[in-house]
Symmetry: C2
Subunit: 320 residues, 2 copies
């Protein structure tokens, strides 16, 4: 780095938003101090590691900072909670300078502003590669967090938005440079700046969802995890899975990083009510994509053909 730790911390403090009404002590002391409401707290941590999740050559610092926050907020949303506070542990290499770090914070703060999240603390370390670990704290009414273990046979599976955009964006980034069409531009934007479905999660919980999670590692793998947690199986109606523009059905079933919400609802009426409200409030679709069964993971096509559903997806330890 071209700057000392204390000087960098001082520069970072200047770009941070001031302390909110609930933030008693922000960045600069041994720890942050906040006065939360009386709800349950939802705690999550997620990392973006250079080489594994991004390359410096193909991402901007601002997009990276934004995304590092969003991937955590997606986990907060998946519990039907509201984001409150975040902490950031940065490891910086000699490949980045202070200006890059300021841009990174710019991206993080832009996500924080959008989702009413306070960045209250952090840590700086040196290492051979850049990594960004965000920890987010959310709040939810006592006992109302929506876990992934409540799905019951007969429940209907629904998903927000369209899947596969991030996988398509990754493929486009790896391919030869050319002028993208509108769908391809949307896919690339989705990869760089995903959306955390925070407001949408509240609606899904309110219509009586029995289980929910975000799709970060691919629909097949994440659905298998939801089923394992609930002790149930699923019939996935593969031709109903909404496929994003520029994406293939394989992208939609196996691609990671979409950060859409997968939920189980008690019946079709709840799915319809949810779909209507999400469309009206957020312009976001909600699609029935299958049902929960006693056991087994089955993929069924619109022509009625069945095969076992392989929980393929993005396993961070077996990705090549």
């Amino acid at each position: 780095m071209d700057i000392s730790e204390d000087a960098l911390l001082a520069a970072i403090r200047k770009v941070l938003s001031g302390a909110g009404p609930e933030v008693r002590v922000g960045v600069g002391d041994d720890a942050a101090v906040v006065s939360p409401g009386s709800g349950d707290l939802v705690l999550t941590t997620d990392a973006l590691v250079e080489g594994s999740h991004f390359r410096l050559a193909t991402t901007t610092a601002r997009d990276l900072g934004y995304k590092a926050v969003i991937v955590n907020l997606s986990d907060i949303a998946a519990m039907a909670a509201s984001p409150r506070y975040a902490l950031c542990a940065l490891t910086l290499s000699s490949s980045v300078d202070a200006a890059w770090v300021m841009e990174l914070f710019g991206g993080m703060l832009s996500a924080c502003d959008e989702y009413a999240l306070w960045l209250v603390g952090g840590n700086l370390a040196r290492g051979p590669e850049v990594s960004i670990v965000i920890t987010a704290v959310g709040e939810v009414a006592p006992g109302r967090a929506l876990t992934r273990d409540g799905a019951r046979p007969g429940d209907v599976l629904g998903v927000t938005g369209e899947l596969g955009a991030a996988a398509a964006g990754l493929r486009l980034a790896a391919g030869p440079p050319r002028a993208p069409d509108a769908g391809e531009r949307a896919a690339s934007a989705r990869l760089a700046r995903p959306t955390a479905r925070v407001g949408e999660a509240g609606v899904i919980a309110a219509v009586g969802a029995t289980a929910m999670m975000d799709i970060s590692d691919g629909l097949g793998l994440d659905l298998s995890r939801l089923c394992a947690a609930s002790g149930v199986g699923a019939r996935l109606e593969v031709d109903r899975v909404p496929v994003a523009a520029a994406a293939t059905r394989a992208d939609a079933l196996g691609g990671g990083e979409d950060y859409e919400l997968l939920a189980t609802l008690p019946d079709d009426a709840a799915v319809d009510a949810c779909a209507q409200e999400l469309q009206e409030a957020f312009g976001v679709s909600f699609t029935r994509i299958g049902v929960i069964i006693e056991s087994g993971l089955v993929a069924v096509t619109s022509s009625g053909e069945e095969r076992p559903l392989e929980p393929r997806g993005w396993d961070h330890f077996h990705d090549g």
Copy 2:
């Protein structure tokens, strides 16, 4: 890694302690859910990065896991708060296997047990080097967190324990192998397994401390930070600084990673009361090492000689 992410997560879940009365959802869902008391929350995050903070060849996984927790608890203690929950974001390289990771968790859990902390969630990622980012959440009575900005001229500076042991331990580890004496063994143990002064912090707060922080980057540098935050100066009585066995005075003044507490108290009577109670309750010393003045950082010897105090210490961006 020799194991998939889901398999490793399953193995980790088995070694984690069960959910406590305040933990509604632990590891395994999108996020953890906890029901805290009505106090303020204290939030901190700290990283141990391979190459920068440790080398795999010279540390055991168990010591590393223990220390990763303790360095965070030291920040919680420095706010006079009680530890409650922790999250762990691990980046694993191909140099470590599943058995190593289990040992790492063994060390983390041993620290969690000792300090009544619940490890409620985490994240696994792959990278070129191992890093361990712990985020800890503590609790403190509303408005009672002890920050570093409350020191006033006339306050007396006190420090827990003895300083320089970690620096001495580092020097011993770098030197040729030989049979260590008792002091050297203690210094090495202190480096590998530091103590978080959680109980001690409560006593220091109760006798009326005006400011407190933990000494993680060296007494000189950390004292300069406390003074900057409080808008004051300090006269450090260098010959009174307690020096650990096997350490030099330079280790005690400039060496990092001691994790002792530096506090300002209203008068000598408060220091004496604190010293007596810490000795009786914890067998830990508390030593007057100087006074807070209007401005400037001055080192004064027992013979009355004065010189400017250089805030040397461990800056993670300028460590060579």
